[in-house]
């Protein structure tokens, strides 16, 4: 039989997961709105960020309440502090998805500069990192969290590649500059999303092992 406190911790985890799935959907929808030139979907994605923000505040309040009333210790303390920090990263990922959708709205007004190839690949990796980092959180799986950390470099490389490619377009034809810059933004947003997923994975290692591994690499 689980205690009231244990049930509260379960409910907290579920809320973090719910936030995670909202954010994952925001990433895929924002990129979809860009690749498929669907401005209606972009606008919807921007609107749905309000849900992310509400849940962010709710989770924070719940964590503060649990700290004040339950005086959590050891594993419980690590779970609650991790939930708080993860939530901040998830909310920032939500904001980046909004940024992508905003760029999509702008880019969809103009002819497409080039087919999107690396951007969907980056999205797939970054989104997988977010999903696995959250999975690792729920399952307290630090091996999976460490695996997420390994993938960040690939996203960084793709971002660099996209930037160089677009630079070439801009040098060739100054009329492409406005669109090319916006696409480099999107690439940068995806790179930032992967960084936030990395933060989450690092927090999961702390949750499971009690070790802070940030800023070690």
């Amino acid at each position: 039989m689980s205690t009231v406190f244990e049930k509260e911790l379960e409910a907290l985890k579920e809320k973090v997961l719910r936030l995670g799935s909202l954010v994952e959907k925001a990433i895929s929808d924002s990129i979809k709105s860009l690749v498929e030139r669907n401005s209606v979907l972009a606008a919807e994605t921007i609107d749905r960020d309000a849900l992310v923000n509400t849940l962010d505040v709710e989770i924070d309040e719940e964590c503060i309440r649990l700290i004040a009333l339950r005086q959590p210790r050891a594993g419980d303390l690590r779970l609650i502090t991790t939930a708080m920090k993860i939530t901040t990263d998830l909310e920032r990922i939500g904001d980046l998805a909004v940024d992508i959708a905003e760029r999509a709205l702008e880019l969809n007004e103009e002819p497409q500069l080039k087919p999107y190839i690396d951007i969907p690949r980056m999205t797939e990796i970054a989104q997988g990192m977010v999903r696995d980092a959250l999975d690792a959180f729920v399952k307290k799986d630090s091996a999976l969290a460490r695996d997420v950390l390994m993938r960040d470099d690939t996203v960084d490389q793709l971002n660099y590649q996209v930037f160089n490619e677009l630079l070439f377009f801009m040098i060739q034809d100054p009329k492409t500059v406005s669109r090319a810059v916006k696409i480099t933004y999107v690439s940068k947003y995806l790179e930032r999303i992967a960084d936030h997923a990395t933060n989450i994975a690092e927090m999961v290692v702390y949750l499971v092992e009690g070790k802070i591994i940030r800023h070690m690499g």
């Binding site: 594993g75 419980d76 690590r78 092992e209």
Partner: protein, 258 residues
């Protein structure tokens, strides 16, 4: 845990203790760092009070109790529990503050002067000075300086406990032992005692037994978790309360058992 940098005040080495046939402490090995607060926690019956009482030979008051092993007091390197060591002298150097305040039915002044009188000190000048210094040390002087000859039992519970601390301080102890010192006090009196403990460690090494885990977290530098007469885990308090190494410690700390 690395122990290289710490300055030892005492150290239990292969300490065993028996209440007649009952093996109450099992192979305890633990350092006590000088001028730090070490907390002993664990469920009822785990041996924490038994361990605390070894430090000032309280168990000698009953027959059939038996110590094995050593508790070394530094820097002299004497074994506190050796039969050759006089328990009365040990209690002057290692004083105990109990769960319920237990002032003698004497004046405030005489309570504090008591240990010094036992030592044969009777010059008023010396006693006056020691009484004031000890009462100041126990954060009680300002409240009682105008009525040192009133009966100690007329003080409030929290004041009585601070008087007991002053009485313990008067003999210039090297270690102060606290056995659940705030369990009979209200939250205000409790926080005064906790503040006092943190202040006292500038001068004296402290070992505290407490049922209140948050109290251990607030006042101590080191925490030992005991269970069934053994030390399950000993480490820096912040480590124990954020990321203990042992599963039993984790379960106790988070209230899953005990």
């Amino acid at each position: 845990m690395t122990r290289s940098a710490i300055e030892l005040k005492a150290e239990a080495k292969n300490l065993n203790f028996y209440y007649g046939p009952v093996h109450a402490l099992k192979n305890i090995n633990m350092p006590i760092e000088r001028r730090k607060v070490t907390a002993l926690i664990g469920p009822s019956g785990c041996g924490k009070t038994t361990f605390l009482r070894c430090f000032n030979r309280m168990h000698d008051l009953y027959p059939h109790n038996r110590y094995e092993g050593e508790i070394i007091l530094y820097p002299d390197k004497i074994n506190i529990i050796s039969p050759e060591i006089d328990p009365i002298e040990i209690r002057m150097q290692i004083s105990m503050v109990f769960q319920k305040p237990n002032p003698f039915p004497k004046s405030i002044y005489e309570n504090v002067a008591y240990g010094l009188r036992v030592r044969g000190i009777s010059r008023k000048g010396i006693l006056d000075e020691a009484v004031e210094k000890s009462l100041r040390g126990a954060a009680l002087w300002e409240e009682v300086k105008g009525r040192l000859n009133s009966l100690a039992v007329d003080l409030s519970g929290g004041q009585q406990q601070r008087l007991c601390i002053a009485r313990a301080l008067a003999t210039g102890p090297r270690i102060l032992l606290f056995d659940e010192p705030t369990s009979a006090l209200d939250p205000t009196a409790t926080s005064k005692i906790e503040e006092l403990i943190i202040e006292l460690k500038n001068e004296v090494t402290i070992i505290i037994v407490t049922h209140n885990m948050q109290q251990a977290a607030r006042v101590s530098d080191y925490t030992a978790f005991m269970y069934l007469g053994e030390i399950i885990e000993f480490d820096k308090t912040d480590k124990i309360f954020t990321a203990p190494s042992n599963r039993l410690t984790e379960e106790y700390i988070t209230g899953r058992f005990g």
